[in-house]
Symmetry: C2
Subunit: 141 residues, 2 copies
């Protein structure tokens, strides 16, 4: 459980958005949930053009709220590895529903076919794979 | 289907967040989906402190993307009534999952008991009520 110091309202949606209501934050969560991106440089080069200072701030904030964890890279002393915590993994149903909405509602929107297939036909299986930290979309790093 | 002029990426999550990845936008959708707030002044006074210019810009953007519609108020010529379109209503599963996550993950987070009950025990019924444009949370306006 995370407490927020400056809570504007106790409403569940408002509180959730106080932490998550920012596209960069949710793009980092997408990378950690669906792809093999785990390092600062991976998020920076994910293609949406996040700046280094926004990325640092968002990673800090996500750790502070217990959604991601940071460990030193086993092979590179100066690098860190980021992972979703259980609380971060618990965002999977929200991310899945957002993706399904976007696929249905916005033109020229894509997701890897194997992920779409699972989202539409076996949501429970997809949730299970995400909970097991399976890399669903292997991207070049 | 909505097209976005300046799409940074075709990824479904990124595209969805290009439209929705902003807490004010999702708070307006919350008001329209769960409460009886339908007018500019209702959103302005919803308690989170949105400013008039941000509210105007977000309402314009939501209309532009086909998520809400605007009609003249039947009784007050100068006022408008906002409603979710079918594409806006289709965000219900995302909003429900976000709310459930916040209730589980953030301290001092509340939602009306009748809504929590439905979210946890009969999500299909809740989706049906939202699709029928039922006001689930009557707030003083």
């Amino acid at each position: 459980m995370t407490s927020i110091d400056k809570m504007r309202s106790a409403c569940a949606v408002a509180n959730g958005l106080e932490i998550l209501g920012d596209r960069w934050t949710l793009l980092i969560i997408r990378d950690l949930m669906f792809t093999n991106r785990r390092e600062f440089g991976h998020f920076l080069n994910a293609g949406e053009g996040i700046s280094t200072n926004i990325l640092s701030e968002r990673l800090e904030r996500l750790q502070c709220h217990g959604i991601i964890s940071k460990q030193p890279h086993p092979d590179h002393g100066k690098k860190n590895i980021y992972e979703l915590t259980d609380q971060g993994i618990a965002l999977a149903p929200t991310m899945i529903e957002l993706t399904l909405w976007a696929l249905d509602s916005i033109q020229n929107t894509f997701a890897p076919p194997q992920v779409i297939e699972l989202m539409k036909k076996d949501k429970e299986k997809l949730l299970q794979l995400i909970r097991q930290r399976t890399v669903l979309v292997e991207v070049p790093l």
